[in-house]
């Protein structure tokens, strides 16, 4: 770490917001992205504001009527261990389980994963299809943004200096089948070459699929909801959705794999996803 920083652990939200006002201040939750960036010289914050003193942020609530809320301090393993999330929002548990390693998941948080805003963030596609909303605190009070407005670019979010994400809310429990798929290079811990989450509900004909790692921000496939309702054959539906996904994404070549492989894997995995969530009753 070339540039030493200050460390603060506020006891109240007001203290935290106040500390985050200064230019070089950054919030510290799990630290599994931020401390790596500091070590590599990618970020040089003046002050790290440890939000783990704010106990409210550890709340993980679940209500069949009202939906779920996941606080900024909730670690991925805590999320995975939560039986209700596993039962009703398995796409979140699956996405979380695919991230990093067991010991990193004891520290890394769901909110931290999407605040880091890597195009390949594994939590993001699930949050998109669940219609998640990000609740932000600032000196004026609170504001909320849908997840797709929160993520704005590569490592960029709509969060302003002096703001803090409090939690993410899933406003209502979705009906239907959901799943998360991720293509990696090895079975062990790896970043996604492509990832995606899908939700399908036969009665309403809702079909939502969001693809990550293939554009600067996750890509939510639009206009596919009606396809499911009219679909007579899952295989044909899968093929059609895969076709549409091809035009929606804009992947790149990078050190992990080629653009062409990403494109082709999106086709393969979108089909697998559709088969998985659109089959059966």
């Amino acid at each position: 770490m070339i540039k030493p920083f200050f460390y603060l652990k506020p006891r109240t939200l007001e203290e935290a917001l106040d500390a985050l006002q200064s230019d070089g201040a950054r919030a510290l939750a799990g630290g599994t992205d931020l401390l790596v960036e500091i070590r590599n010289g990618e970020r040089r914050p003046e002050t790290l504001v440890d939000i783990k003193g704010l106990k409210d942020l550890e709340d993980l609530t679940f209500d069949p009527q009202k939906g779920a809320t996941i606080g900024a301090g909730v670690s991925l393993n805590v999320l995975i261990d939560n039986a209700q999330v596993r039962k009703h929002l398995p796409v979140l548990s699956e996405a979380a389980f695919s991230i990093a390693t067991y010991q990193l998941r004891n520290r890394a948080t769901l909110v931290g994963n999407f605040c880091n805003a890597s195009p390949a963030a594994d939590m993001a596609p699930a949050l998109y299809i669940l219609g998640a909303e990000v609740v932000i605190a600032n000196a004026e009070g609170q504001r909320r943004l849908p997840i797709h407005e929160f993520l704005t670019g590569v490592k960029q979010t709509a969060l302003k200096q002096g703001e803090l994400v409090l939690r993410v809310e899933i406003p209502r429990l979705p009906k239907g089948k959901m799943a998360f798929l991720k293509k990696q290079r090895i079975k062990g811990h790896d970043l996604a070459l492509v990832n995606m989450a899908g939700l399908a509900d036969r009665p309403t004909g809702a079909l939502r699929i969001c693809i990550g790692a293939c554009a600067v921000t996750p890509v939510l496939l639009s206009d596919i909801g009606s396809l499911y309702k009219d679909a007579k054959d899952v295989e044909k539906l899968a093929e059609r959705v895969a076709e549409l996904s091809g035009t929606a994404i804009s992947p790149i070549d990078d050190v992990r794999c080629s653009k062409e492989y990403r494109e082709d894997m999106v086709r393969v995995f979108v089909k697998r996803l559709v088969r998985q969530i659109c089959s059966g009753g």
Partner: protein
């Protein structure tokens, strides 16, 4: 909040002993353990949480100590490999590692043991898949992992208790 220098005061219990220290804010838990407390059992293999050589148990959970700040362990209970032997007795896991050839060069071993020990303390009968998941974040270049999995399985099937944390 007034900030004069970037030191932080911490009180932390490591392997049952309480320490009160003042450290620069940017000190990682790994550096604190190795350089301040001279507990060099825990190793640095990559500094970015990818290899697991720095794994310790913090408040009952295994963590990569290279990505935890010393400042963040104020008030915490930390366990390192040095605390696994008690009263001159190796733990069941340590004995199994020796018996099953689960250690070759030994550099990944401390982190591997802490990951495995934490598993055994939260799950008394893990499947092979669960064992592999618990240690997948610990890279080993020497053993090919199979003997490590065998050592952990041996502890599970033996009558020795893996020893609960105190």
């Amino acid at each position: 909040m007034k900030r004069e220098n970037n030191s932080v005061k911490i009180t932390v219990t490591v392997n049952g002993i309480e320490y009160r220290e003042t450290v620069p804010a940017h000190t990682t838990l790994l550096q604190f353990l190795r350089e301040k407390l001279l507990l060099t059992g825990t190793k640095e293999g990559c500094g970015i949480g990818e290899c697991g050589a720095c794994t310790v148990i913090m408040n009952g959970k295994s963590v990569a100590s290279c990505l935890v700040l010393a400042a963040e362990v104020d008030g915490a209970q930390v366990r390192t490999v040095e605390g696994e032997m008690r009263d001159g007795e190796l733990s069941a896991l340590q004995k199994a590692f020796i018996e099953h050839g689960a250690t070759q060069c030994g550099f990944c071993t401390p982190g591997m043991i802490m990951s495995a020990q934490e598993l055994l303390e939260r799950n008394s009968n893990p499947s092979r898949e669960e064992i592999v998941e618990a240690i997948a974040g610990n890279l080993c270049r020497c053993t090919g992992y199979e003997p490590i999995v065998e050592a952990i399985e041996a502890v599970i099937t033996s009558k020795d208790s893996p020893r609960r944390s105190t």
